[in-house]
Symmetry: C2
Subunit: 278 residues, 2 copies
């Protein structure tokens, strides 16, 4: 691991690291915020998954999460949104290829060689974080837009791995909306039956009662993607059917930007703290 | 005026505007945060001046100031750092020309045609803000690095205009450091006697007791520019000689980045609120 940057921030440390990923078959960069610690306490971790076009720095620089994470004693880990590098397949569109990994394991050529963000986030990155930093085994996950999809899918596919999950303006039903259909066709192929394993609504409808964890979603009602790409009400209906503890908050006037995330990230951190600090 | 962007943020409005500046002889962009208001209350204003290479968006997206400004009921105005446009003189260096206006009135060719940021900030922009937004006549000023220099100079040269001034890692003594000497030679000419009118230390030493206003400076001790470009102790000594109410805080471990600003911007907003909300 190579330390690329380190900054003092709210009495903690904001760092940026590069490491070689075996799973993704390329060098990857992630950011981490380590709050101030007293003694040998091990920190719980909140993973943050970013949206289309982002890397590890968007949330790090714009969300203002470090203040509350420092107060609560929660480490924040911000992975990148796709594999990277000159030999990694890409697409001219902003919503496919680099910056648009959709947190799944691709099965199709040319994507399958590198695009295994699901395995990276489930296994390789947490193992690295555990090995290199003084963190506990309690973790939660959150994200924005494509990253909200990623957070929900990671939580729904891995019962017991996260104590809570939250999202801002997530793509909850990717099999039914243009962003998801384009990405899934490329990464997973034409057979839409294989897509269901990466759709939060389908996963929630197939879930068992004992795997439910506290879930918080914030959605701005002035979000330009609300009607065409996001539709959180579909997930809320699945949650109602399954008695899943989902709180969906519609925030009047807010859009899809980081100004929306910054406005409510404190609520999400305190929501996760209820479980992480138990 | 043309509205370029508007976002809901902490129940207030984050806007970006373009207008034609007579003083600067070009189109200019500024950002403004308007906190939520009840009734017809007029908002006090904090002007924020950014550092080298920045525009109006760095502080807007990275400092996390809107949360506290919304709570306190203070409008934030973020101007650009220089005139802009294809016909505006520029330099290959990051520390001269566009993005590096140094908040002064240039007298030398080719700079004098557009580089009058001092007049723009003293007269034109506040008049525009007063005319277009429901703001009061109480204002304060703050900034970072070159913008900390700008904030101090604006306050020192205009007694009664601002109720308080603060800065993060300001260039307090530009006549004596490389950044200032390069810029002042270009903008003001070789005669360094003319430079004194734009040097906070010289201005403070020449100040009258009745013009003193509460002044707060934060400086990280891990700032890579501390010894060569910043040297806040020189201003602190001038303040001591003049009995000027300056609080200089050295923050251990902090560098020159927006992570430093984000960590202490709440203190600065509450400091200004003591005067702005009187």
């Amino acid at each position: 691991m190579e330390l690329l940057e380190e900054h003092h921030c709210f009495e903690g440390r904001q760092q940026r690291w590069r490491h070689d990923s075996r799973v993704l078959n390329c060098a990857m960069t992630f950011s981490i915020f380590l709050p101030p610690v007293s003694g040998n306490a091990k920190l719980p971790v909140l993973y943050w998954l970013s949206g289309l076009t982002c890397n590890d720095e968007n949330f790090t620089t714009k969300a203002g999460a470090q203040r509350v994470a420092a107060e609560l004693g929660i480490a924040l880990v911000m992975p990148d949104t796709s594999p990277r590098g000159d030999d990694v397949a890409d697409d001219a569109g902003y919503d496919l290829g680099k910056g648009a990994g959709f947190y799944l394991n691709a099965t199709q050529t040319p994507w399958a060689q590198h695009y295994r963000m699901y395995d990276y986030l489930r296994d390789e990155l947490p193992a690295l974080i555990q090995a290199e930093f003084a963190v506990s085994d309690r973790s939660a996950i959150s994200g924005h837009s494509m990253g909200g999809h990623g957070a929900l899918v990671m939580a729904l596919k891995n019962p017991g791995k996260y104590v809570s999950v939250s999202a801002f303006a997530p793509i909850v039903n990717p099999t039914q909306v243009p962003w998801g259909q384009k990405a899934f066709t490329a990464y997973l192929g034409e057979d839409s039956a294989t897509w269901q394993a990466w759709d939060s609504c389908a996963l929630m409808l197939a879930s068992q009662p004992e795997q439910a964890i506290p879930t918080l979603i914030d959605q701005g009602d002035a979000d330009q993607f609300l009607a065409t790409q996001l539709q959180p009400a579909v997930l809320a209906e699945a949650a109602r059917q399954k008695d899943w503890p989902l709180t969906l908050r519609i925030q009047p006037g807010y859009d899809h930007s980081y100004y929306f995330i910054a406005s409510f990230i404190e609520d999400h951190l305190r929501f996760h703290a209820q479980q992480l600090l138990k």
